[in-house]
């Protein structure tokens, strides 16, 4: 799997995540985005040990519920490491849906959807999505070449990934990496 290491994180992480983002649209505009977190094998082992109770190498629906309860929902306090700004205004991520957990090649994979409804208009709107753990316990690598868009036929959009040098985190030492997405209604 190709990956690009986040260029400005440092030091003391205990957990590593490779993160993929898929932005969803509909006829009206943006509806949200799906995140896929692939954990490193060492941390994955801890989650698998704790929640794959029948030791069959996969999470059944009941086990997924337990993973969600025991190793995901607590992240609500950390906005699920997801920092969103719409036209410069910060939005707290306190609700996500469609959580799922899988085990693929010894790695635990989380999937979840972050609802974020933004109506498309004739002028461009800007949304910035930064996915990082401010405590740096977890180091999250955004897979830049796997930022995808779904059901986007009604919208014109373009994006880039850049460092936000105005709002460093972790004692002001790390610049967050953000997806900067601009979109508007397609001209008929």
């Amino acid at each position: 799997m190709p990956f690009i290491v986040k260029a400005n994180a440092w030091g003391h992480a205990h957990v590593w995540i490779d993160n993929t983002v898929v932005v969803h649209f509909n006829d009206q505009g943006m509806t949200g985005f799906k995140e896929k977190w692939a954990f490193d094998e060492m941390f994955s082992h801890m989650i698998i040990h704790d929640f794959d109770k029948n030791r069959n190498g996969r999470f059944e629906p009941a086990e997924v519920k337990e993973v969600k309860k025991g190793a995901f929902l607590n992240l609500r306090k950390f906005d699920y490491f997801t920092h969103v700004k719409i036209n410069g205004k910060s939005i707290e991520v306190k609700f996500v849906k469609d959580f799922n957990a899988k085990i693929i090649k010894n790695r635990v994979i989380y999937h979840f959807f972050v609802p974020c409804h933004i109506k498309a208009t004739s002028s461009f709107k800007e949304i910035r999505i930064g996915i990082y753990d401010e405590s740096f316990y977890t180091s999250i690598t955004l897979l830049r070449d796997q930022i995808l868009f779904k059901h986007d036929s009604a919208c014109e959009h373009h994006h880039k990934v850049e460092l936000n040098k105005k709002e460093p985190y972790y004692y002001g030492q790390v610049y967050p990496e953000e997806i900067v997405l601009r979109f508007r209604k397609k001209n008929e």
Partner: protein
């Protein structure tokens, strides 16, 4: 040269206390995240390199453990030893592992390089032993969930550790105030033979700091155990501890040598030199008390 050392010392002195303690696991921690002090961004390029190396070493460790499981030879074991050592050095470079307390401790009393190395090594040894002990208890006896159990045990140990750090800081403060009152010209050059009183606080302090289990060791140990590689896990933990000892010792040595540099830059003015040294001893003790208190309050 002394002036350069003094400048570095002062810069470290200003920045170091803010480089906090180890963070809790956000996946299970019951605590609410707090805002933090923001410092000028000056070192992010260097930190970027460290993060990159750490990520790569973590992957290499994972692969090497698997190779060792498949093929138990010196060719697979030796790289694992080297990677564990490097991983330890880099792992301890981030916040935590008691570096702030070590740094402050050597403000509070002039000490020898030997003592700096000893404290660094003892802390990392206890740090690893604590992590390994918890893993062995969880794996062989308690057989509970790793994530929540480790977090719960770790929180209790932190409470004890931080209380001890505050108490040691208080003892150092009282001791420093009394000893400077009784013997105002007390002086001890770095590198000079140690007096018995120099080493007094080393062991209790190393225990107080090192008793907090290293999450890095815990994760590596559990991973090795998942392949039934108990002795490999123990070896990796010990080697990692040696790597961490390098980094923690550097924090101590920076404080010892920085203080010497600063004091020597005032060697022509004995009065100012004495005043600075007295100020540092009291300030070092206060820093330990303050830092320990902040950690303790954060854990309650």
């Amino acid at each position: 040269m002394n002036k350069i050392v003094a400048i570095i010392f002062t810069a470290m002195f200003l920045v170091y206390p803010f480089q906090g303690e180890a963070r809790d696991n956000p996946f299970v921690s019951k605590k609410t995240p707090k805002g933090e002090v923001k410092l000028p961004t000056f070192a992010s390029r260097g930190f970027a390199k460290i993060a990159l190396w750490q990520h790569q070493l973590n992957k290499k460790l994972t692969e090497q453990v698997k190779r060792l499981k498949a093929n138990r030879t010196w060719e697979t074991l030796l790289p694992l030893i080297l990677i564990s050592f490097l991983y330890g050095i880099i792992h301890a470079a981030g916040p935590g592992h008691g570096k702030v307390v070590v740094f402050s401790y050597f403000f509070s009393r002039r000490s020898s390089i030997k003592k700096g190395l000893l404290l660094g090594n003892l802390i990392s040894l206890f740090h690893a032993v604590s992590g390994v002990t918890i893993v062995l208890m969880l794996y062989f006896f308690i057989k509970a969930a790793y994530l929540s159990s480790f977090e719960a045990i770790s929180q209790k140990i932190k409470l004890v550790s931080y209380s001890l750090i505050v108490m040691i800081g208080l003892a150092l403060l009282i001791n420093n105030i009394f000893s400077t009152k009784n013997n105002p010209s007390r002086f001890h050059e770095a590198g000079a033979p140690d007096t018995p009183s120099d080493g007094k606080g080393i062991l209790p302090l190393a225990l107080a700091i090192g008793v907090v289990p290293c999450p890095g060791v815990v994760i590596i140990m559990l991973f090795a155990l998942s392949f039934n590689l108990l002795f490999t896990g123990l070896m990796m933990s010990l080697i990692m501890a040696l790597g961490m000892a390098v980094t923690i010792s550097i924090a101590g040595l920076m404080s010892i040598l920085g203080q010497e540099g600063l004091l020597k830059s005032f060697s022509r003015n004995q009065k100012a030199q004495n005043l600075i040294q007295k100020g540092l001893t009291v300030f070092g003790s206060l820093l330990i008390i303050g830092f320990g208190s902040i950690l303790l309050i954060g854990t309650l």
